[in-house]
Amino acid sequence: MKNKKKSSIIVLLTALAVFALAPLGMGNYMLRVLNVALITYLCVLSVYVLLGMCGQNSFAQAGLWGVGAYMAANLVLRAGFPPVIALLAATAGTALFAFVLGFAFFRLRQYYFTFASVGLMTILNGLFMNWEPVTGGALGMQNIPKFSVFGIMLESEKANFYFILIICVLTFVVMRILFYSSIGRSFMAIRDNEIAANCMGVNSLLTKSIAFGISGALCGIAGALYAFLSGYLSYQTFTYQQSTMYLIMIMLGGTISPVGAIIGTMIISLLQEFVRPLANYMQLIYGAGIMILMVVQPEGILGGGKALYETLHKRKRTGPDAA
């Protein structure tokens, strides 16, 4: 078992090393695509925490992403804060926003939270479009400076790539720690059996709100990174469709581990680039692909890979003693 863990860490580190070398042979356009994909990964990771770990499905993640983005942009452009502070404040602010809303929403049981999240997404998108003093309304926000820290400005796509990559790796590690912590177990207890969880001392309302808060933090950091990277924010970016896309990505990759979020995000983000001629058919391809996948392998590509691994390495089990 330890060997399995060790080998999966080696696989991940190798993949990371290969990925870190990517900018060497890439133009700025492709690098931008990769940067946006990494930011998207953070949002998909937020779906992993909320849906994969805690069993709560939200359609508002792109809205939270927008909250983080507009918050960071306002803090830099209007309040004059340095980008580092804006990044941290947008992360904390979006987390708090989601946590507080969670306290209201999770009084609703079962799937009603999902309904509420659809409402939240609609309201947020409406605010982004119409709240001119804060979001710039339909014109959006322009001239957001690049991220800078200790006087070093991350001008090039390559510098941004490494910066975003480091944040992605850190959040991945934090999610793994969360998974093995008692909070993570509370999430999974609620996902698997809420009544049993309550009977083992897990407070549903608080725990789900924490999960929504953590997912908000991930979306907030992604939003701030996006604001600094693109320099321009439009309400058309933070849409319901984008939230659905995150769900498609995690369904494709698999909800069982944050690795699923990586796989799903990268496949779909890169697919969109490489099959541009087929752009008109993409919705059809996703839709059909997801339907087939859910029938054949509901745990996504990662779940399929895991099943394959277990078939190939049929371990000799110390089975339960025959009683």
Binding site: M1, S182, R185, S186, M188, A189, R191, D192, N193, I195, A196, A197, N198, C199, M200, G201, V202, N203, S204, I256, R317, T318, G319, P320, D321, A323
Partner: protein, 257 residues
């Protein structure tokens, strides 16, 4: 067999607890006390309100009338998770494990509860876990396996191990022996005696009468939500109202055969 009444303060007290579902009274002025270290049996025909009582004690249902006290503290209005943090822990008739998690995670949920209860011994769980797994006949299982690999009986046992790791004051067991074979029943016996040796008050709902008569110190019999009688196992077996409720009159308790 000891008789615990008057020996010490009760751990759990139910006083005139009433629960109605529409026109049906599932718990009709039920009152009893549970003492530390005793096994209190709750028996009665199907639909007599046994599981409802456990749901009332754990707070999954709220009582319409009456009071539930844990030690000197009134818990009647508290939420389920608060009650479990005070030490009221249960198992379920059909095991409710974390189905997508491995066995170890399921066990650690019990440890987490002990930590939440701020018990000083909570974090040194390894030894207790090994003893419990051994007692439950689960020492051979791979903790990294999914719970789906466990038999039905083993899943029930794992649920009790999980509960025991949180050091309950009151352990509520809802038909732990249902669906188990003879040797698995012995593990249940061993787990119950481990609990009572630790001074835990055990409430046992069970249809396997030989087990009930063997392990219970006192028994209360329910029918249509009402307590027919409460007493020693020998007294209960002789009670004509009980025999009436179980067999519709005439003959001995099925249990005795």
């Amino acid at each position: 067999m000891k008789h615990y009444i008057n020996e010490k303060e009760p751990v759990l007290t139910l006083h005139n607890v009433v629960k109605r579902f529409g026109g049906v009274t599932a718990a009709d002025h039920v009152s009893f006390e549970l003492y530390g270290g005793e096994v209190f049996g709750l028996i009665g025909p199907n639909g007599s309100g046994k599981t409802t009582l456990i749901n009332l004690i754990t707070g999954i249902y709220s009582a319409d009338e009456g009071n539930i006290m844990l030690g000197g503290k009134k818990v009647t209005k508290l939420s389920t998770h608060t009650r479990s943090k005070l030490g009221i822990i249960r198992s379920f008739q059909h095991p409710r494990l974390l189905g997508r998690c491995d066995i170890e995670t399921n066990i650690l949920v019990g440890v987490d509860l002990a930590v939440r209860r701020r018990l000083p011994q909570a974090r040194d769980y390894q030894e207790r876990m090994n003893i419990l797994l051994e007692t439950a006949g689960l020492s051979g299982v791979n903790l990294k396996d999914s719970t789906e690999r466990l038999s039905y009986g083993q899943q029930k046992m794992l649920e009790i191990v999980r509960a025991m790791l949180s050091y309950p004051k009151v352990l509520l067991l809802d038909e732990p022996a249902a669906g188990l074979n003879r040797s698995e029943m012995n593990y249940i016996r061993a787990l119950i005696s481990m609990a009572t040796n630790e001074g835990i008050a055990v409430l046992l709902i069970e249809h396997a009468m030989d087990l009930v008569m063997e392990v219970c110190n006192r028994i209360t019999v329910l029918n249509f939500g009402k307590q027919i009688t409460t007493g020693l196992p020998s007294e209960v077996q002789e009670n004509t109202a009980v025999i009436e409720a179980y067999l519709g009159g005439g003959g001995q308790l099925a249990a005795n055969q």
